[in-house]
Symmetry: C2
Subunit: 658 residues, 2 copies
């Protein structure tokens, strides 16, 4: 391991485990990366005082709250969760902070995150896929005189043909309204913006004309409208570089957390118009922020990028989000037989959907497959490269709905399964989104059942987010605290008690956390979690069956979406959320929807291919496949009724069982 800049070595005694961490990492987080358990209920807020460790060499920043006496501090004790590492240090984990039985520093399972797939513009270039749909061309036209007094537009088109070998042009009113001044302002030196046709038979569109030299300034925007969050990137189309990226809360949230609630709101008088206004306002704000942040490319004296320079915007979102953006009535999306208004969307003017972009700006919407397999998934299939790989691939985007795609460059099958909101914190007593204070990582002292809670932002715990829920359930299950039905075994522990919804495990006591109550996970929560993972697994199994494949045929699994980035693969396989495969086959692509939108901004190949991909994608309505129900029932179990499907999970339980 080469030592990176600003990274330091932490040595944990007595196990002598070493780890390299970035400056500012807490000792608690550092211990987690080595697979060492330190009791820590308060997740990094410094209030439980359980995570005290002994500093043997070097110095750390912080490390003391009122839970630690001055005398203890003098002796070298530090609270691991509030100790920031800024140099190489050696730390001893005392008995009470680590395992209480089985020796100090005994292993706890390391987290196996999926390998991150990094989008690389050079790869696109090498594959010949980088083919910007918009290009800017500078040219000097001859000046009109009485023997050559053709119209301004005719002169421009002739110039493009004669000088640049660009033929077959169309243009629109915005250019017609600007061209007279544009030509004459800089003595017939102009820059034109061409939108190249996706189809060779079509014509190029002169999108814009600017006086003087503006080539090398070709900008576009890609947007992912998530149900919760809207993400955007501002792109330099000629180089493929990202100039800015931003995200913002989807303000429709105030009118309903999930798509069904949004549709219900949109059915009210003026509801649809409001939904549209909210999302366009957000996108407009997002664009403004990106333009403010973006450093323009080096150019001949032009300054910041303005809205007027945005020539195209590509937007991906699920089918409901797309309908709301376009102000299409989403009513039938939520009613059987679940019919959207449209699954493909013509190229629009950005101004048609009230985006504050110039009148010549083109807006492309990612096509969808069905009411519940939307443009976000199609974008994910495009962005992740799944549509052009030979490997038989399983693509999963987990949210309130989990969308599943199986296939490769030859064929694609897809389905949506209603997982319920458990992975987004819904239906879980103390569930929450992955924001500050959410318990997102966890380990267990198998003797005392004392937790090690790691929270988002190292804040006092406020609840449990999706990735936390998964790892907590998996850990409790692996250690035999939960049985295969998701019920608590008969174990005596101060952390396990009878609650209002069956038995429950206490993750953090009221005085250790930011909530005004103990944070618990109860049997009803676990049941909801199991139903959610069962829906996904049954979906995968059913879809595999429909295409005549087995888990062993999968050569690759692509995880997309916010949840996928934090998922502990071992936990996911332990509980039967994902099928057991070699973790190396699993990659995480992040926001696949945004990536697809972004690639469409950069490549006419993608714009063209997406039409074929959508035609190729066979959609299965799982509720209509008889076997789905059986698979679902068989999956409402940890990990599955058929434990032979999860041999590894059984081994893991055997190893870790108390």
């Amino acid at each position: 391991m080469t030592k990176e800049q600003n990274s330091y070595t932490v040595t944990f005694l007595p196990s002598n485990k070493k780890t390299e961490v970035q400056a500012g990492t807490t000792l608690l987080a550092a211990a987690r990366t080595t697979g060492l358990h330190i009791n820590a209920s308060c997740g990094g807020a410094g209030v439980c005082g359980k995570c005290r460790v002994l500093l043997e060499q070097g110095n750390i920043t912080g490390g003391k709250s009122e839970k630690l006496s001055d005398e203890e501090y003098q002796q070298g004790y530090r609270q691991a969760c509030i100790s920031d590492i800024n140099e190489d240090v050696t730390i001893r984990i005392p008995e009470e902070s680590g395992r209480q039985k089985g020796g100090l520093g005994t292993d706890i399972p390391l987290r196996h995150r999926a390998r991150m797939h990094v989008f690389n513009i050079d790869d696109l270039r090498q594959e010949g896929i980088f083919a910007p749909p918009v290009e800017k061309l500078f040219l000097t036209l001859t000046k009109p005189e009485i023997h050559d007094n053709r119209a301004d537009v005719g002169r421009l088109i002739q110039g493009l043909s004669d000088q640049l070998n660009k033929h077959r042009m169309v243009t629109g009113l915005p250019v017609l309204r600007k061209i007279r001044r544009a030509l004459r302002e800089k003595d017939f030196n102009v820059t034109v913006t061409l939108e190249l046709p996706v189809n060779d038979k079509s014509k190029s569109n002169i999108l814009n004309i600017q006086p003087g030299r503006w080539d090398h300034r070709t900008f576009g925007i890609a947007i992912d409208i998530g149900t919760t969050t809207i993400y955007g990137v501002l792109l330099d189309i000629s180089s493929g570089k990202i100039l800015a990226q931003e995200s913002t809360y989807n303000p429709q949230m105030s009118y309903g957390e999930d798509v069904i609630a949004r549709i219900i709101y949109a059915e009210k008088p003026k509801g649809l118009a409001l939904m549209q206004e909210l999302v366009t306002d957000s996108i407009n704000g997002l664009i403004g922020n990106m333009l403010q942040k973006a450093m323009p490319p080096e150019d001949c004296g032009h300054g910041r990028i303005t809205r007027d320079e945005i020539n195209s915007i590509t937007i991906a979102g699920n089918t409901t989000m797309t309908h709301l953006l376009l102000q299409l009535e989403p009513d039938n999306i939520r009613r059987s037989p679940y019919v959207p208004v449209s699954t493909f969307f013509p190229p629009l003017r950005a101004t048609d959907i009230n985006l504050q972009l110039p009148s010549h700006c083109v807006a492309l919407l990612y096509p969808a497959i069905s009411s519940y397999v939307g443009g976000d998934i199609v974008a994910g299939v495009m962005g992740s490269g799944m549509y052009r790989t030979e490997k038989v691939t399983l693509f999963i985007d987990v949210g309130t709905n989990a969308e599943i795609v199986i296939g490769n460059k030859e064929w694609l099958a897809c389905a949506a399964c209603s997982a319920g909101p458990a992975f987004e914190g819904g239906g879980i007593t103390h569930g929450m989104r992955a924001v500050e204070g959410a318990i997102s990582d966890f380990s267990l002292n198998p003797e005392t059942l004392e937790p090690m809670n790691i929270t988002e932002g190292d804040k006092a715990p406020l609840g449990i987010c999706g990735s936390g829920l998964l790892i907590i359930v998996a850990t409790l299950f692996e250690h035999g605290v939960l049985n295969q039905s998701g019920k608590f075994n008969d174990i005596e522990s101060p952390h396990i008690r009878e609650g209002r919804s069956g038995r429950e495990y206490v993750l953090a006591w009221k005085d250790e956390c930011a909530a005004d109550h103990d944070i618990v996970l109860n049997e009803v929560d676990i049941e909801n979690f199991i139903r959610a993972k069962a829906a996904i697994f049954a979906g995968v199994t059913t879809l595999l069956e429909q295409v005549g494949l087995q888990v062993s045929d999968l050569e690759q699994i692509i995880l997309a979406g916010g949840f996928g980035s934090y998922i502990d693969l071992d936990s996911a396989m332990s509980v039967g959320l994902l099928p057991e495969v070699d973790p190396d086959k699993i990659i995480y692509v992040g926001n696949g929807s945004l990536m697809g939108a972004w690639m469409s901004e950069l490549s006419n190949h993608i714009r063209k291919d997406v039409v074929q991909v959508v035609r190729k994608m066979t959609s299965f309505e799982l509720s209509e496949v008889a076997e789905f129900k059986d698979h679902y029932v068989a999956s409402i179990f940890l990990p599955h009724t058929d434990s032979s499907l999860f041999p590894e999970s059984e081994q893991r339980r055997k190893r870790q069982s108390r």
Copy 2:
């Protein structure tokens, strides 16, 4: 001559000339059609009292003002100009009303109007040119169910393909926003409006969708934006029938009479926007009036035609009018080298130019050739059929500018010549447009030089319009009152006197007319007229030379525009406005611009052919052709310096000379 309904026979004594006229025609007008001169200065207002005739048989309506005593009335005298014919009558023209020398009822030249070319939809059908660009189709779609839950748009497109063999569709946001309700309102019975592609390779566009049965209701609008008047027709696209037609004053008139004045106004701050607003407001009003007047075709219970049912509008106008409508800066149209912004215009949404038409309505603008050969002329070439005839044709549209096109289906050459406003009443002391009170027809008592003025609307004279000007000059010239330089010969008459601008002929005395002065035509007026006709004739001559032809090669002359309908062909050839050809070769097509717009509404062939026609039309800038100046100078003469070009004119003068 077969007797038409509501037409009556008038017999004039002593010549025994008979004429058939429509009910309500005045005796004065009836006499004119027989070639009989009746003195009449006041043009039909009944104030000069010179036009008294004797009723010998039958009765007439009116016929008496204070200029006629009760006693005279009892004797059978009537004032011809206020006598309406409503039955067969016999009339005697007394000495004082007719010629005073040469016998009663001696011939005056009859007017030779050009044969009217009537637009006939059946001819189009026979030629295979009638091919409506928009069609409506009724279809019943299968209803969605869980095993067939494709999107609404997908269902429609599949239905069009399966049931009607219509493939390759696109659509837009307006249809996407309506389709959900449209499908379900009448149980999946819908009518779709298809815009068929001009080019076979392109896709059809689903313009609109309506619940239930609405086929046989396909409407479109054609508009001609004249500098003075805007004309419109509302068309039934499926049958080709006219449902209503309207015209209205172009309100831009208040900001300038001709295109140059409008351009100057448009160059002022907010001037262009105002010019656009004025013309669109007028068109919107015109459409409203047409919709109100139109009787809808028989249908299944739908009532009046609404704006929402208009699917397309085609607009033709000269280059400046088109620029103002589209809000394109017209500045360079009036400045050498006379460069318009564009000569072709992409298909627009009607709403883009603020027309109050539905969001799906397509607006087509006729392409132009140059700054002064506009879309109105191209439309005339299309509408008159010139572009598909084998006959070598001269097409002339006379207004402030005269546009000339020579050619046939193989080739076309065009030019504009600045005739000045004489033919529209400009630059003529008592010139006016062809509205009520304008002297539009004229004959002369060669002995007394007493006029027979016939006015628009049979009102007291207010001034002289273009067609009146032509016939007055020609008549004065033919009778030797004017010499070949357009100066008055030395003739003693109360009607000829010295005025402020040289000598002048008095057409009507102050007390006989609606003006507060005598109405005269002076030598300066005549000079202006000669310059105007010289410009046109020189233009025709130059253009013929440029294409290597002579007048004798012309197989057909097409006159277009408002002036052309009233033009007396003999007069036009007498003064050298038109070359001398067999009058049977001359046809009048009326408003060629409107006709072209209208045919584009009805035929995709025309929409396709116009692109080729525009490419084919070679434009000549007359000011740059050296010979033009020579031809012009040679033409500033009545009829021409080279009188061998006008042998017929000379003959006519010899016959009629005093």
